[in-house]
Symmetry: C2
Amino acid sequence: MSSSFLADKREIEFLLFEYLQMEDLLQQPYFANHTKESLLEMLSSCLTFCDKIIGPLNKPGDKIGCLHDKQTKKVTTPKGMKEAYLQFVQNGFLTLSDEENYGGLEAPETISVCFMELFSAANQSFAIYPGLTKSAMHVIGKFGEEWMKKVCIPNISSGKWTGTMCLTEPSVGSAVGDLKTSAKKQADGSFLIKGIKQWISGGEHDLSENIIHLVLARVEGAPMGMDGVSLFLVPKIRIDKHSGQLKEANDVHCISLEEKLGIHANATCLMSFGDGDQCEGFLIGKENQGISYMFLMMNEERIMVGLQGIGIASAAFLNAEKYAKERVQGMDISLKKDSQDAKRVCIVEHPDVRRMLLRQRAIVEGGRTLSYFAAKLQDLSRHAASEEIKKKSHTTLELLTPVVKAWCTDMGFEVVVLAMQTYGGYGYTKDYPVEQYLRDLKIASIYEGTNGIQALDFLGRKVFMQQGQVFQGWITEQRQKAQQFKEQGLFSEEWSIVEYYLEELQNAVNHVQRLFAQKKQKEAVLNASSFLMAFGHVIIGSLILEQGVLACEKQKDTSISSLDKKFYRNKIITARFFIHQILPEAKSYLAKVFTEDVSALDFDFS
Amino acid sequence: MSSSFLADKREIEFLLFEYLQMEDLLQQPYFANHTKESLLEMLSSCLTFCDKIIGPLNKPGDKIGCLHDKQTKKVTTPKGMKEAYLQFVQNGFLTLSDEENYGGLEAPETISVCFMELFSAANQSFAIYPGLTKSAMHVIGKFGEEWMKKVCIPNISSGKWTGTMCLTEPSVGSAVGDLKTSAKKQADGSFLIKGIKQWISGGEHDLSENIIHLVLARVEGAPMGMDGVSLFLVPKIRIDKHSGQLKEANDVHCISLEEKLGIHANATCLMSFGDGDQCEGFLIGKENQGISYMFLMMNEERIMVGLQGIGIASAAFLNAEKYAKERVQGMDISLKKDSQDAKRVCIVEHPDVRRMLLRQRAIVEGGRTLSYFAAKLQDLSRHAASEEIKKKSHTTLELLTPVVKAWCTDMGFEVVVLAMQTYGGYGYTKDYPVEQYLRDLKIASIYEGTNGIQALDFLGRKVFMQQGQVFQGWITEQRQKAQQFKEQGLFSEEWSIVEYYLEELQNAVNHVQRLFAQKKQKEAVLNASSFLMAFGHVIIGSLILEQGVLACEKQKDTSISSLDKKFYRNKIITARFFIHQILPEAKSYLAKVFTEDVSALDFDFS
């Protein structure tokens, strides 16, 4: 079996070690086990795993999908998935950045996030299983009772058990506070859970002996809405709290699998809890605090989903680029009218193809930068030397999380569409991988909170948290950086453009704040999506231009290889392209925020 | 079987009879058989056919697809397609706008194009079969020998035979001039055809007794490139030139079917001609003129593909709108923080959902306007009272054709993506039709000349044809119109915006012209796609705002029904939305045309 997995290792190394300076981070005591060399070695092993193990499963898994047996209610994943999962765990990938008490390797989260991108690029259906499992483990580790930690964490971290996240219900969707699943306290302190949960990724499968479901439910008598939601640990097979031994099956089963556009090898389940009134669950943390616990999981997931967008987009782009460099078609446009005998060229020579490819590259590099940057903030929020840096990193991460999720998935989808267009007709066929990438990636704009909800979270909550200080602080920092580079005469024209948009972002926020003050909530959030996209364009512009400056310096070193010379030159070109060809789109996004037109509210949809 | 087909009949009627004033067109003698009433009656019968006959076949057809028998080399279409095709022809839909000598009803092309939109909305896989058949018939009718007309046209127009268009070859793609299929003249004047053609829609199927392939090939000894390409009529089953009787099978067969992202019920064939050196073909018209004949077909097809984009987008939008009006989730955002007991609302109440829906609507209405407008130009180019109008309509149509094709398909795809997002998670599942729409529509940006090629045709050829007079004339006309309405105080603010962009388009063309003059071909066309999109935004803005003006007048009539009142009010809102929320995107498109940044040419892809 062959794999269409491709990754740009040089680019990833640049980002991690030259731009984000992982080596500095490794100075923190937590990372004592790691060096640049050890991380690079792990990266190589990750790339091999992607290319040799899960990459080749991607296309057959898409074709076969998961099977649900109506009789036994069991789900079978495509051949090879189970073995791949075990190997994944054995390679240390599941708990890469976790503490030793999770069985973890204590590597930076930034590395873990980088690997997640690569897993998604190789096999998105596969990558979802460990992604959610890991988050479930973290919730248990942080909020669970001692016995839960003792019993679940070793079993999950060793790959014997997996985990899920059960929020959504059929008639409720994103309005999680309206959920109907109930929890009734029993004499022994456990709860009887009853309800239906929908779109549960990995709700039932054959990768592991047991599945630990984290289920949101309302304890009888609890308030309506978000404030009455509690979180429960509900095992697929009951467990002995002391020994951790598996007992009889719990009253949990998969009703059916969703038939979906893509990610066919990932089991998306409609789950029944307590159909026979025998579903045993255990409260995690305190009653009615479920939403806040789940948010820990959600925030991790949102960064991860952003990475899924970039990972698949990157694979699509690299495949399209490879194709464009091999496919001979047509002649050089500047000769076209002069000669019929002119040499036929590869399509990468055609201006429109080059434009599409560089746009794909710039979006992928930009989205990757933002995601890894966010992951590094996570590392700093946990392990930085000072409390001040920890705190600041944490709040900045909170600010950026919805942007990572929404920008990387929507723009990542655009990349896949452009990659398909690069292939021409072949892109639409199953002869090439891009049509699967398109189908697999689309879910990322929808799940873990639709991108519309991310935008509301961003503009309605994050931008104004702490009286807007986090946002202001971020903007100010970026402006200072721009100012500084301008003074040094490095990409002055481009930094001026960034500065202009930073100011415009600030103006847009002021405008929205006035609308909120006038109690015009609907008007204020009407173009939240556009604001989020504009913000993404601007901060990524700023981060990517900084890389251009860095590449410019690196290029001066006369001892570098010719490959590196080309690499840095191309980095500079990509940064310029982003500033001149992508960033200006922020203008039309912001125009929508500023406009007084509220036609969408006026329209009579009745 | 149920159908997810939806259409906005009132909107279509407005466009045809209030905005495009079909009744005036019907004054031309050619349309003597038709009245507004007869056209409305046909529209009703078309809607019924879509809803009852081909709509219900859409989902099952997608699931089953076409089957290719490796032994017999025959292709079987999904159940019901054959009967539907016959009924389609019997209803007069195939030759609706054709002359009587084609067995046609001599209705306006505008109506035919409107119906094509509806067929695509109901079942894109189905709609492709008659679409290409019709174009093949026209080529034969216009350029074929007498016996071809006599034999083929009655058989095609009665639904007994169908037609194809065979341009593409595996290693050649869009560079048609490089084709390798050969034609060797025989003593009797016929030719032996030999070659492989790829992506032949309807190349083999069971809808008809015979299939007439129009095949591009190079006669032995003809020049290389486009100038040596001839067009041949190649029947699947040989025909008696005199009686039209079917004889033995020709040496033509389907090697395999493409496995594709979508349009599964349309047979996309890899075709072999002359594998046994016995493929009989007949020259159409003159040798080496094949490309020009094929262009007649291509131009018809390009308008039709634009319509496919709008048709599917419209169905996706209307389904999403319906869903948003039924799906209860969350509460009114202006109450959110105040009350947990607040009434839950339909998602159409949420600002971001309204924004997405109105954007979908505005794009669909805009694209439909442009396409029908182009179709009316076709009518005028054939049947207008004066030669001057005929000529002007023809050249304007030539100018607009690539814009119809590319704008409507790319923007239509955006509509489908937004429709999916409106559904949230459900949109990603096969429970709702939108995931199929997304898959079926994507091909439209690729086939009949990728949208990149449309952009090159537009900026490289059409804009500058007749020394740029057609383009200039069009811009001038639009500016005069804007000026006039401004003077009348009708939507002055919005017309000023349109005027601004018309001027910017002119500036952009001047800029590109300078680049061409400096022999900077690559720089000139680097952002051709952006220019095409900007042009589309501006002209559609102008056409849709004109509809706003019209709706404003209509609204004044106090005798209209409350439904009509609402309709006109919404038309005005949609026009405003287009001008304030969509048109400004032209700014960022044009910025790319104006920029001196040519990073995409500088980048080292080696």
